[in-house]
């Protein structure tokens, strides 16, 4: 087991899968000569050449559409979005083509591709670069959506995404690229899509959170433990398909649930998890499911405003106390 950064774990996953399967190739802006805007593809052009690490014209829908075509002919493209906010430019190719062509070809052409890159709030990236883009994708039948919170998950889930026969949206985070953690060296190590992970066991309340909010939830759990509230922190990891067993199993145990979500709230992941818990475990609940989300406004640029928009530790603590006193 090696200790490496989240970025290195992603790089290793790409490298291993490119060695394992000659059909895997990378395509996107600045991923070759420049090693990627966030250096996730570092060294891969040198190792695999221009045919397999393709620097493209600046055009998200163009390179996504081209990847859809290549996937239908049996290749396994891994598309990099410099930031997932730019994927909106490729939304038609993702929603109407990548997610639909397996269906519309009556099962003749699968579209095994991964679209990956950073998304969600970071540090002062402002309104057009800080959005929690997963909400645009998990609504769409035919897509899988992954948000890996740790270096270990980054490697294991990316490898599974590349091997998956469906289009997979794989959203990383600028703020996590530098974090370190233990990552298995085994090139056959993978984490199956659709499996949630219990990050911290607890008995009083289930806290659903992923990416940066997962780490904040862990800090909150540590503090609340001092006052005798035992939080179970569950990281969905794959937002679609969701892991019913682990997520509902946890709520059946704790009888309370809150969702912490960095995005803008309305119709976000919190809404879906709250509905999901209500539908599947209503009789087990001792309190209504609560959401703690970012303010329903664009992300401001100024640091203090950015902090004010994002769910704070204090707000999470106050909500959990309220839910647990119900």
């Amino acid at each position: 087991m090696a200790v490496m950064t989240y970025r290195e774990a992603l790089n290793l996953a790409l490298r291993e899968e490119m060695h394992r399967d000659p059909r895997v190739f990378l395509i996107g802006e600045e991923i070759g000569l420049y090693d990627g805007a966030y250096k996730v593809t570092q060294g891969l052009l040198k190792e695999f050449g221009e045919r397999r690490v393709v620097d493209t014209p600046i055009c998200e829908s163009g390179f996504t559409g081209v990847a859809v075509g290549a996937a239908m002919l049996g290749l396994r493209p891994v598309v990099e979005m410099m930031t997932f906010n730019f994927s909106i430019l490729a939304l038609d190719q993702i929603v109407n083509s990548a997610a639909k062509l397996y269906y519309m070809s009556g099962g003749q052409y699968s579209v095994p591709m991964v679209i990956r890159g950073p998304g969600g709030p970071a540090h002062q990236l402002a309104a057009q670069h800080s959005q929690s883009m997963e909400v645009y994708f998990y609504h769409v039948p035919g897509l899988k959506v992954v948000r890996p919170s740790t270096p270990r998950d980054a490697k294991g889930l990316l490898k599974s995404a590349i091997r998956d026969d469906n289009p997979v949206i794989f959203i990383e985070a600028e703020t996590l690229y530098g974090i370190k953690g233990e990552v298995p060296d085994d090139p056959e190590f993978t984490i199956p899509l659709g499996k949630a992970e219990i990050r911290r066991e607890g008995t009083d309340v289930t806290v659903f959170a992923y990416m940066g909010m997962m780490y904040r939830a862990l800090e909150v759990a540590e503090e609340l433990a001092k006052e005798g509230i035992s939080c179970e922190v569950v990281d969905p990891r794959t937002l679609r398909p969701m892991d019913i067993e682990t997520m509902i199993g946890s709520v059946r145990k704790t009888h309370r649930a809150v969702v912490v979500e960095a995005g803008a709230g309305f119709a976000g992941m919190g809404s879906e998890i709250a509905a999901f818990v209500t539908e599947n475990a209503f009789d087990d609940l001792d309190a209504p499911v609560e959401r703690i989300t970012g303010a329903n406004a664009p992300m401001p640029y100024a640091k203090n405003l950015e902090q004010a928009k994002t769910p704070s530790k204090e707000k999470i603590i106050a909500t959990i106390r309220r839910v647990c006193s119900a």
Binding site: A70, G106, N166, G194
Partner: protein, 381 residues
């Protein structure tokens, strides 16, 4: 320092070999074997007769909305005829004649337009993409196929179809730009049928031709008389040979005309004149090709009856097919059935079984008319 004209200075060619009065430019006449000429004519005539039959089937509510091809047979057949079966054909949504030629059984095409996914499924060894309705989105896919073919070292050419309206879409620009930069083996075939539903070509672009757009991407573009099957064939063969020889993409603009409706949900009398349609009817691609073959003594006796019988038999086979199983709505969403869809499928199965029990003694209400068949609007409702 000075202001000067850069090289190369671009030219756009227009190619016409057999005009609507039957005049033939023998110097340009492509060398097509008599058997191929007969096959080509048969495919065009089949396209026309099937199209007319499908419009009637749609009016009777037996199939749903579709986009007729009448008038565009030469543009489609002249181009697709130059492909090998191993080459890739990427249709938009108006390439019925080309699809039949590529091996789609007629009843399968009918099934597709009756709404069955099975009808949209290419055979495993058939190198065709399914039709795409969002305009121009298939063009980047076509470039992706060409890139993948190069990557795998397959000796194939990709031919992608689209209309004049598609040239205004970003995907058109993106696809041609990528194709030019990567120098992939692809032929872009634009069927400029003058109208994007109700928007005439003059409102679509201020360019003198659509063919000239290729020059901006660094590869050749040619405009052809799209109702002249010989000209379309000659230009396409040249483009396919160039692509196969590694010389990169070509854009072919086929100047043609949609003689019928945009789709069966459209009424073109609202936006274009009868005189215009009549003028284009004089340029019908079938009439002039028929006269050309007559001179060569290549017309088969009773061909029309033979084709009609083939279509009638296919319609019978289509109508004998069982209605789609509702449980198939969950198929092909994902490569495997995820847990939430498994649960929904099970729920639907139970509901359908209960409905069957409940309705055993009831008279069923008449089925709702299909989309495009309804005669009402939301205001009339």
């Amino acid at each position: 320092m000075p202001r000067r004209v850069l090289d190369p200075q671009f030219v756009i060619e227009h190619l016409s070999i057999l005009d609507s009065d039957g005049n033939l430019d023998t110097a340009l006449e492509p060398d097509i074997a008599p058997a191929d000429l007969k096959r080509l004519y048969r495919a065009m005539l089949l396209g026309r007769r099937l199209d007319e039959r499908m419009v009637r089937l749609q009016r009777q509510g037996r199939i749903g909305t579709f986009a007729p091809i009448k008038g565009q047979e030469a543009s489609q057949m002249g181009s697709v005829f130059t492909l090998r079966p191993t080459d890739w054909m990427v249709p938009s949504f108006r390439e019925t004649a080309a699809m039949i030629y590529r091996g789609w059984p007629i009843e399968k095409v009918l099934l597709l337009f009756a709404g069955s996914l099975e009808g949209g499924r290419p055979a495993p060894d058939q190198h065709d993409l399914p039709i795409t309705v969002p305009v121009a989105t298939q063009l980047p896919h076509a470039v992706g196929l060409a890139y993948a073919a190069q990557y795998r070292e397959d000796n194939v050419v990709v031919m992608a179809y689209f209309g004049d309206g598609a040239t205004s879409e970003g995907d058109f620009h993106e696809a041609l730009n990528f194709a030019g930069v990567w120098h992939v083996p692809i032929v872009f075939v634009c069927q400029n049928n003058q109208w994007a539903i109700s928007v005439p070509i003059k409102k679509q672009t201020h360019s003198r031709t659509l063919a000239q757009k290729a020059l901006a991407y660094g590869f050749p573009g040619i405009q052809v008389d799209g109702n002249d099957v010989l000209a379309v064939y000659a230009a396409s063969r040249e483009a396919v040979e160039r692509a196969r020889a590694g010389e990169g993409p070509t854009l072919i603009e086929c100047v043609t005309y949609r003689l019928g409706v945009h789709t069966t949900a459209d009424d073109p009398t609202k936006y274009r004149s009868e005189e215009e349609v009549k003028a284009w009817e004089q340029k019908d691609p079938l009439t002039r090709f028929n006269a050309y073959l007559q001179k060569k003594n290549l017309l088969e006796e009773g061909l029309e009856e033979q084709i009609d019988a083939e279509i009638a038999a296919a319609v019978q086979r289509f109508e004998a097919m069982a209605a789609a199983d509702p449980l198939t709505i969950f198929d092909h969403v994902y490569a495997e059935l995820p847990p939430h869809l498994r649960a929904q499928k099970e729920e639907l199965r139970e509901r359908l079984e209960k409905d069957v029990e409940r309705r055993a003694d009831e008279e069923l209400p008449p089925p709702l008319p299909m989309r495009g068949q309804r005669k009402t609007s939301r205001w009339q409702n």
